[in-house]
Amino acid sequence: MSNLNQDQRNALYIGVTTILLCITVAYQSFFVGIPYLTKKIAEIIPLSMVKSLDDISLESLDNDILYPSNINVKRQQELIQIFQDLVNKHSEAEREYTLIFRSWNNTANALALPYGTIILSDNLVEIAENNHQIIAVLLHEIAHVEQNHGIKDLISSSLLMVSISFALGDISTIGDLLAQGAILGIETKYSRDIEIQSDSFSANILLTEYGDTTSLPEILTLISQQSELPETGNNWLNSHPNLESRINNIKVQTKKVFELR
């Protein structure tokens, strides 16, 4: 530093400060600014639009990857009754909840659409060892609807895309790839946070209603075992947190509720 003249020192301060501020602004924008704006924008989206999105998504899924369910009607009705009870007890959002069953290419999965349509795959119903495990999944999906995750996800993706394009401007192919990588990384981080929030919601209700959260890790483990995708330790590009993180989060939630009691 002592070898530098005044001009060089000033340039150094400007450079260091600029880098520091750019990193801070980017970090805070992506992890504080965009989630805040997302929440505010999601609050003003009209319900009619949310319903349309729900209908269009279901139609598209039915055309592409979902097939009519093979679960017998009696079992479907039993689960719909359980679902309605859960909704009556735990739903506060202005949504019309519907539970539907679909065959999903041997995938054990469940999906919540923004207006309250929840899809359970045949495989998930089949691999569940008891109704408690299905209740855990349904609560997780109800949490997605209650906390408006579908709409928030859509808004945050759009905001992220606009912000990165705005910040980087007209970029080269390599820059474009890097930007897309950054978008993917940040989006999946948002998505993992959403999953953890929904697990927490489900765990809290399971604990309050049934005094035990084990059905949630149990069904998550069964889904993970059934999945063809390998469970990896590095999950920064996964839309869902890895099984271990989710189970740990459920344990933490359970501990918290016990401590509060």
């Binding site: 001009d7 301060y13 400007i14 400060t17 600029t18 520091l20 501020l21 805070q28």
Partner: protein, 126 residues
């Protein structure tokens, strides 16, 4: 000082510089060239982020550092009172963007005065 007063001051200084000998003039311009600042660069640094880096450009490191620390504090506390801090910095710093021409003009006049004094004190030819 407003821009007209600064222009008059600059003309007066230029008149003094013109009275220097050729050798002193050369020396004077060598010093001036190193220290003179560009108002547009100052404005761009001010506009870029209201964080005080334009103060570093004019060598006001302490003022720049205070601004940067406040700005970072504001950014890290965005979810509580951070927005107020950033608005506060904006309110203080933004007028300087509009006055950037006269601020740098005044700075450059002071540079000219200092350079002239240095040359005059060194030179036996004045």
């Amino acid at each position: 000082m407003n821009i007209n007063e600064l222009k008059i001051e600059e003309e007066r200084l230029r008149a003094d510089i013109s009275k220097l000998s050729l050798v002193d003039k050369k020396l004077y311009y060598q010093i001036e060239q190193q220290l003179i600042k560009d108002p547009d660069t100052y404005a761009v640094l001010n506009w870029f982020l209201p964080a005080g880096i334009h103060h570093f450009y004019l060598g006001k490191s302490i003022r720049g550092l205070i601004n940067v620390v406040l700005m970072l504090l504001g950014l890290f506390t965005l979810d509580s009172y951070g927005v107020l801090i950033i608005i506060g910095i904006l309110l203080i710093e933004l007028p300087q963007l509009f006055k950037s021409q006269s601020i740098v003009f005044e700075y450059n006049n002071n540079v000219m005065k200092t350079a002239l004094k240095k040359v005059q004190n060194k030179s036996p030819y004045v």
